[in-house]
């Protein structure tokens, strides 16, 4: 789980051009200023490259926090 969280944090940091230290545990689209719509699309491309799959539109807009990214990486969105 810690590995998955670190991977999610790395993907988010890369997409938003932040360092991993700048991504708090409770990072969300509402609290991280750099999490813009363009940054979000970069995140989606990063997740897709990492999982070698394409996310559907509902999932693309459903990712709103670091926890959501961890869920997607686990393959069980929303759980």
């Amino acid at each position: 789980m810690d590995d998955l969280r670190a991977r999610a944090r790395g993907l988010l940091a890369d997409a938003l051009e932040l360092t991993a230290d700048e991504v708090p545990d409770d990072a969300s689209i509402d609290t991280v200023e750099a999490w813009t719509s363009l940054g979000h699309m970069r995140l989606i491309l990063g997740i897709e490259a990492s999982m070698a799959t394409q996310l559907d539109a509902a999932l693309v807009v459903g990712i709103e926090s670091l926890d959501d990214i961890v869920s997607v990486l686990k393959g069980a969105p929303g759980q």
């Binding site: 813009t36 719509s37 693309v60 807009v61």
Partner: protein, 518 residues
Amino acid sequence: MAHLDRPNLRTGRVALYCRRRVDYCRRMSSTIDFGGLGSVTDLRQGTRWSAEDLARGAERTATLVRPYVAPERPHVVIAHGGTPLFFADLFGVWASGGCAVCVNPGLTAGEMSVIGEFLNPAAILTGDETGSALPDGIAALRTDRERISKFDGLGKILRSLDDPALILFTSGTTGAPKGVVHSLRSLFARIGLNRAHMGDGSLARSLCVLPTHFGHGLIGNCLTPLFAGGDLFLWPGPAMKEMVDLGATLGRQDITFMSSVPAFWRMALRLSAEPAPPCLQRIHIGSAPLSSALWQDVARWAGTDSVVNMYGITETANWIAGASLADGPAEDGLIGAMWGGCAAVLAEDGTPRRRGEGELLVQTPSLMSGYHARPDLTNSVLRDGWYHTGDTGHIDDDGRIRLVGRRKSEINKAGIKVHPEEVDLLLERHPGVAEACCFGLPDPVSGEIIGVAVTLVARRSDAPPAPAIADLRDWCRARIKAECVPDRWFVVAEIPKSDRGKVKRDAVRDHCLRQDPG
């Protein structure tokens, strides 16, 4: 003035159309004719302003602004946008005899202060989107909330067609502002040419997702359909969740035309189903390079081949050339033939040539008057009767233009032009930064993002610690609008220079990427 061939028949017809538009402007210069205007609807609020509503709103704004406007102090800053009120304010400023200065509502306090000192405006018009920080000593008016006991009527628009009517800032809001000045003559020449090339039919119902302080959004996407009598629907900067509904929104509102930037379409095609029912008759894409693959994908999604790759610059009142899939296959860099005026390339011997490759030069009736109070900048781009675009182009035997490169150093981030010199200078004001150099980095979503190399001031061992990147980023955010804050930071020991001591941004970028490929 360097002379070229006589214009062809199509150009001649367009010129005749433009002369008619200028005659129309002359008639307008006594009163504003709102009878021919279309309506403006705010899609989020669900409010619709008819031509009569816009006229009443403009009259209200003119009444409020007129006491402040004087020939020696004509500028009125409009610090809001994307609403029907914005257009009432714009027309009201013109009706008051003033010059409208449309700025990004997200300017920082420091940037707004620079604009205030540069222009000494008569007033600032605010709206819901305006930031809280406004310069002291300048009247701030919220025109839809001020009390008015007696309306003045609309009165005269401007002292003459060639007086400054609109200023849009393209850079320099942290230091030396670069304000592009247009007159009503250049604006209506552009609107007339746009209508001649697009046809009013496709402008019946237009959607604008762009900011109204951009030439692309304001002149191309909004004023052109409005003055064609069309209905304009405003949906500025749709959020990610709203984008899911793009196709449904287009279908529900029966939208016939919209314009945007490539980054918008990269998101829209991922998130939204096709318009249902199919309604778009024409799509413009501009402000950033459009790949042939994305161009074709947009056409498939929209169900029309009238998808046009547009070329335009704020200095030319936006669109001046366009290439449509309806006229031929998609090609990277193809921007088609001029929409009025003519183009040339600057040959190596310094002469303009009608064909070949070189810096792209244009002549157009929609050219700016110049940069406000900056004759040095104006003279650097308006030379020998040509506007020097700073882009490298190739013009073929049919007059079609292809963009093949860029001479100017600006970074194009999702259609927003960022001048790296401006960000360098800002960063070098930070006490911990010795030198800074910004450059563009390729990005799959925005086209480009802003990279920056910084060297830090040498510190004594007992000095406070050097600033962290996060500190530098926050320091920038407080002083410059968000889109200009560098995305990727490289702290380097030295910024590489040529043997003449010049910084070459491409070389700095390559140096940084070798150190940290990301």
